[in-house]
């Protein structure tokens, strides 16, 4: 089948089986390797992308499920200018091995879009499914608070 959707602001068309997970179409057909494979079962969050602005696990989302929808990957998040989350991530010196970080950042950006000033409990709820083996959690928490402040300052100016 043919699946058409909007990827990082541009229309794309993928030929192939509709049940194939979005993750592999992104990585293998479109060369967007910033979205990572970690567990294949939606248990780790490394493959998180936005579908119509909502954070989803692309390893468990059939390609057919994004037909006609808007998908944003890490490559599209800060394509023109780095997203506030990405700037905050750098300011907090967050990544270590970096493998889970695309997924962390996508989850954090979706959280802030829905809740511009999340408290720690809200961060826990939104981010608990994004595992990091290097233990960057304390910095992720700080970076989300910092990104919220950056976004608030941008909105105010």
């Amino acid at each position: 089948m043919t699946v058409e959707f909007v990827l990082n602001g541009r229309a794309v068309r993928i030929e192939g089986e509709g049940e194939r997970p979005l993750l592999w179409a992104l990585r293998e057909d479109l060369g967007l390797t910033g979205t990572r494979f970690g567990c294949g079962r939606g248990l780790c969050g490394a493959c998180t992308v936005h579908v119509d602005g909502v954070a989803v696990r692309s390893c468990s989302l059939p390609l057919a499920g994004v037909a006609g929808r808007a998908v944003t990957t890490i490559e599209g998040l800060g394509a023109s200018v780095p997203h506030a989350v990405q700037r905050a991530w750098l300011e907090e010196n967050t990544p270590q091995c970096g493998y889970c970080q695309s997924g962390q950042i996508m989850s954090a950006a979706a959280l802030l879009a829905a809740d511009p000033a999340p408290d720690d409990a809200a961060i826990d709820r939104a981010m608990a499914g994004n595992l990091c083996r290097c233990g960057t959690y304390p910095r992720i928490r700080r970076a989300i608070h910092r990104a919220a402040a950056l976004l608030a300052a941008e909105a105010a100016s």
């Binding site: 248990l43 950042i105 595992l131 233990g135 928490r141």
Partner: protein, 735 residues
């Protein structure tokens, strides 16, 4: 300025490592010149193996260690950049392909491990940076006919002191290239350091927040196919029969390849290969572990205590049995643990025409090169190994069988192949942190005095597993690597890792006896962040707490009272006590402490727990570290945070169990990792030091589990002697 060629330069900087010195000396005798530096670009100024000045004035820095999250790129780049006087982020960092000049003088290979990267490179890389800087200054002095002392290098240019002239490094490169490489250069004195001790920003961070970082699993080459493996679940089992019919009927599947212990499914992509693997008809011959489970392994470990092992340390006279009024004799136990790095193992291989080329995150590119050369019976020079940043490793990528699998499949397919391990492969076919058991014993006199301390530790050897890695590298290709097999037995017999973390107990005790008892049930084991220290510190530092309580002493005071005034453990304990406000925790908060010196670094940790519905929850961990000179303060803090989270996952939940010779766990649902919602506050404090930097990737791991168990005891009165801790607190599992 006297000039030396690059071999002499290395002789000058290689202060340790007899093997490397020997190799260099032989090379210097002119028998065989070393091959050209593999990362070398044409037409550049390259004063040494590590640095290249490009015509545009930028500097390529070749890194001979694996970046696997520990921040080694940043640390090593900081050393070079300090002498060059530039921002470390301006260096073009790339990973070294195998070459003798990149060999670690302690490991005689390019292995990354043992937390030694900063320590062994501290002088080497500063010297390398100083050499390039001095050549550029000398070039400017020559071009400007100016005194050398007036030519000042930094920020990508050389300028005359009076500001009248300046030139970019690229402009000076041609003249500099005609100069001899200097040696014997003085390094910047500590008081002039602008980066070491100050620079925090990781050089690899930008690519890791915009998604552009490329790991081994991300590599693609034209015409590449993707493979997955269906593996015999039982360790040591073999393929009996394979029926590929249904697999081959899956769209996108190209071929099914049978190997001795696994079947490869090669397809157009990962999902197609995975689907094909899911319907493969396959039967296995059970291996030697048929019917073996974790309970049987524990029973056999206990049985082993009846034997006499190797006495690793014995000090003081055994107390007269008449004097012993009381004995504390307890068993401690830890399970197998998986590395579970976030990037599943993956490698790309291209094989053909007597050559091989591979791409993978790996912890030993020259070992990998030698293994591939032997596998294909081709010269090492015909094998190119491209190392990529690893999406975590923690020791796992020291074992590079996954790359050899990719090589085998690519050779059979006569096409480029990417092999991707599933998460389940990674969990079930790891080289695990060994399951180990310790019999801890303390004898007390009638007056209550501590008379004797004994640790008897049952564990398989991890060091013996290094022999099949290092022998193929160190032996000439014409000599079969199997000739080194007897060394596996010897290495096991003298393996210091079996008792490390317990054998060095630093307290003044009237009698210490540490015994190693090998027991290997043939479950594959390997190096896991901090290796033997990870379990032995749990045994030893938990038992210290038990003994302190038995004596009615405060666990911190017990330790301090038995440490010498100059002991590194004393300094970190005093610091952690101050920073954690030891003994002054708020109501409902309970503290535990532990300390360990390993990898030449000493770390003390205080863990604070509170009880939530009777279950301990970690609220804060305070770390104090003495790791010599702190090169990148925030990277050191990151490594302590990382070690705490890694060790906390293991201490609370980590457990790989064996059933019928196979691993029971498969993914993050049954091998849970700590999430952000359970992550405590983590503080790090440094002991001020002017000593050379020592390890930081691993030493934060070992003190966590005992400090946590000690805090749990303080909170509940329950002594946890078996990990993971949550087993003792989960419903229906009372201990």
């Amino acid at each position: 300025m006297s000039g030396l060629d690059r071999r002499s330069f290395l002789r000058n900087v290689s202060v340790a490592g007899a093997g490397v010195m020997l190799a260099i000396t032989l090379g210097g005798c002119g028998r065989t010149a070393p091959p050209p530096w593999p990362n070398r670009r044409e037409g550049v100024l390259q004063p040494n193996a590590f640095l290249q000045l490009l015509p545009d004035g930028s500097v390529v820095f070749t890194i001979a260690k694996t970046e696997m999250g520990q921040g080694v790129m940043t640390g090593l780049a900081t050393l070079v950049a300090e002498e060059l006087g530039i921002d470390p982020r301006a260096l073009k960092c790339e990973f070294a392909e195998p070459h003798p000049d990149y060999v670690d003088p302690e490991y005689h290979s390019m292995v990354t491990g043992g937390s030694n990267s900063l320590r062994i490179n501290f002088d080497t890389l500063r010297t390398a940076g100083a050499a390039l800087r001095e050549m550029l200054r000398a070039a400017a002095a020559r071009e400007w006919q100016a005194p050398l002392a007036d030519c000042i290098a930094g920020d990508g240019e050389v300028r005359l002191r009076d500001g009248s002239r300046r030139a970019g490094w690229g402009e000076l490169a041609a003249t500099a290239a005609t100069l001899e490489v200097p040696h014997g250069l003085p390094l910047k004195p500590r008081e002039d350091w602008r980066l070491i001790g100050h620079h925090d920003a990781r050089v690899d961070a930008p690519s890791k927040v915009d998604g552009s970082a490329r790991f081994g699993i991300d590599v693609a080459v034209p015409g590449m196919l993707t493979a997955v493996m269906v593996r015999c679940p039982q360790f040591g089992g073999r393929l009996r029969r394979c029926d590929p019919e249904r697999t081959l009927a899956v769209a996108g599947v190209r071929r099914v390849l049978e190997f001795e212990t696994a079947v490869a499914v090669v397809a157009d992509g990962y999902w197609q290969a995975s689907r094909g693997a899911g319907v493969l008809g396959v039967e296995w011959d059970a291996g030697p572990l048929d019917g073996v489970d974790s309970a049987a392994i524990t029973a056999a470990q206990r049985e082993r205590l009846h034997d006499e092992g190797r006495v690793v340390r014995e000090e003081g006279e055994a107390p007269d049995p008449q004097r012993i009024a009381r004995t504390l004799n307890v068993e401690y136990r830890v399970p197998y643990l998986a590395h579970a790095a976030m990037e599943p193992l993956a490698a790309v291989a291209v094989v053909g025409d007597g050559r091989a080329e591979v791409w993978a995150g790996n912890q030993g590119p020259d070992i990998l090169q030698a293994l591939i050369a032997r596998r294909l019976d081709i010269p090492r020079a015909a094998v190119r190994v491209h190392s990529l940043p690893a999406g975590g490793a923690f020791g796992r990528r020291t074992y590079m069988e996954f790359v050899l699998e990719a090589v085998d499949i690519a050779a059979a397919m006569a096409a480029p192949v990417k092999l991707i391990w599933s998460r389940e492969d990674d969990m079930r076919h790891d080289r695990y942190r060994p399951a180990a058991l310790a019999a801890m014993r303390a004898d007390f006199g009638a007056d209550g005095a501590l008379l004797a301390w004994e640790a008897r530790i049952v564990c398989p050897s991890v060091v013996s597993g290094m022999v099949p890695l290092i022998a193929p590298l160190l032996l000439p290709d014409a000599i079969p690597a199997a000739i080194a097999d007897p060394f596996e037995v010897l290495a096991a017999r003298w393996d210091p890792m079996n008792t490390e973390g317990a054998s060095g107990i630093p307290y003044r005790l009237p009698r210490v006896r540490i015994e190693s008892l090998l027991y290997d049930p043939d479950v594959p084991v390997g190096v896991w962040r901090s290796v033997g220290n990870s379990q032995n510190a749990f045994f030893s530092e938990s038992f210290v707490d038990e003994v302190a309580h038995a004596l009615g002493e405060d666990p911190l005071q017990f330790r301090l009272g038995r440490l010498g005034s100059e002991a590194p453990e004393r300094r970190v304990l005093e610091l952690v006590a101050e920073k954690s406000r030891w003994g002054q925790a708020p109501a409902g908060v309970f503290q535990g402490v532990a300390v360990l010196a390993c990898f030449q670094t000493t770390v003390a940790e205080v863990v604070e727990v509170e009880l939530v519905a009777g279950v301990p929850r970690v609220r804060r961990v305070v770390c104090a570290v003495d790791c010599g000179t702190v090169v990148n303060p925030d990277v050191v803090r990151m490594q302590l945070e990382s070690a705490v989270v890694f060790a906390l996952s293991a201490a609370l939940y980590g457990e790989i169990t064996i059933r019928d010779g196979a691993v029971e766990q498969g993914n993050f649902d049954d091998y849970p990792l700590l999430g952000i919602d359970e992550c405590p506050a983590i503080e790090s404090h440094f002991v001020a030091s002017e000593a050379s930097p020592t390890g930081i990737g691993e030493p934060g791991v070992p003190p966590l589990a005992p400090a946590l168990a000690n805090a749990v005891f303080a909170a509940t009165g329950r002594r946890v002697r078996e990990l993971p801790i949550m087993r003792a607190f989960s419903t229906g599992n009372p201990t």
